[in-house]
Amino acid sequence: MRQSPKPEPGEDPVSHIDLSQSPEEVLEYWTEERMAEAKPREIQLPKPGPRQEDQD
């Protein structure tokens, strides 16, 4: 079983941020219009070379 590579020695493997925005501020930001117009976030990698085939 393959394991995920481990981080560099001494490096904290976890990053985080505490957000300072109030819930009210965020809820007010997300109007129906903004939610409807939000762009789908995605990662599409370039189609690989000859080796690429669907894996089903």
Binding site: V14, L27, W30, A38, P40, Q44, L45, D56
Partner: protein, 321 residues
């Protein structure tokens, strides 16, 4: 004889009603007229503007529409001047039917702990998918790393909307107070670690997320090649982001980029499904073991990161914060 009459009547009903509908709603530019030239002398055509047809057909108008058989009767009253010699003339011919565009992904009813996440990166608003997890703080949501952090910059205005369904938020909107991601995702965008966690605030009544919507168990460092069900809210065409979809399949390694250590299942969910949960086995009641991460252009395979020790540490930190 009876069958022939019924079929003819049905055809007349459909074609006459269709012409009437388009004519009434869009305004035909000209009365039907035989085609010019001699290529098809017995074919009539009319150009219609169908732009307003959908608006025209209110439920009330549909309810009160006159049965097309009335038109069939009027047509018969006009007489039958066809020559029997013109009937059954020509070679047998067929055309192929189509089933419309189908997708690999299956439509699902909303699931209380699965939802959409909305957030801002820079000045752009984005949408992804996420899932509430059973956790010490009862407030942890799993999503993709690329839905919480881009090139080292964390998202703002982050909100989780469980069981989102066509604009409805039956369990409310849960704002994030902290975001977590593996350092290797944050520092270098390593696809191996494309997972993020949000810790959300209590709602306005002081309730915690998973006390309201429930939370999935988690699994880490599992065997590869297992069967998964992936969920998400794909928004890019042919989907529209209004509802939940799923894919099911046996995971296989990404042979294009084996250094990622990721696995893929057959799935054509598009952008917006990123961050949606992968559950071991069939259905949404299993333990979560990955997320929708990436695909390749022109390939109907969704890949997810292997949830090993680093992502486990990230979850552990988020879950007790």
């Amino acid at each position: 004889m009876t069958r022939t009459r019924s079929l003819a009547s049905g055809l007349l009903t459909f074609s006459a009603a269709a012409v009437l509908a388009l004519t009434s709603a869009g305004g035909a530019s000209a009365a039907p007229a035989p085609s010019e030239g001699n290529a098809n002398p017995s074919v009539a055509s009319v150009t219609v503007d169908a732009g307003g047809a959908a608006d025209y057909w209110t439920p009330e108008r549909m309810q009160s529409a006159v049965p097309g058989d009335t038109l069939a009767g009027k047509a018969l009253e006009r007489g039958n001047r066809s020559s029997p010699l013109l009937v059954q003339k020509g070679k047998p011919a067929t055309t192929k039917g189509t089933k419309g565009k189908s997708t690999i992904a299956q439509s699902e009813n909303p699931v209380s702990h699965i939802g959409k996440v909305f957030f801002t990166m820079g000045t752009t608003n984005y949408v992804c998918s996420g899932n509430a997890l059973n956790s010490g703080n009862h407030s942890t949501v799993a999503t993709a790393g690329h839905c919480v952090n881009e090139s080292g910059a964390y998202a703002t205005n982050f909100v989780f909307v469980p069981a989102y369904d066509n604009g409805a938020a039956p369990y409310g909107k849960w704002t994030a107070k902290a975001l977590y991601a593996p350092t290797q995702w944050v520092s270098s965008g390593d696809m191996t670690y494309d997972t993020g966690f949000a810790v959300v605030n209590p709602d306005s009544k002081g309730r915690l997320l998973t006390d309201v919507v429930g939370g999935s168990g988690t699994a880490f460092n599992q065997a590869r090649g297992q069967s998964y069900t992936a969920y998400g809210y794909p928004q890019a065409a042919p989907f529209d982001g209004t509802s939940l979809w799923s894919c099911n399949g046996v995971a296989k390694d990404d042979t294009n980029n084996p250094q990622f250590g990721t696995q893929g299942i057959r799935c054509d969910m598009t952008g917006g499904s990123s961050g949606g949960p992968w559950f071991l086995g069939v259905g949404s009641d299993g333990v979560q073991n990955s997320i929708n991460s990436y695909g390749y252009n022109g390939s109907a395979v969704m890949y997810g990161p292997y949830w090993g020790a680093v992502i486990q540490a990230t979850y552990n930190n988020a879950a007790v914060s």
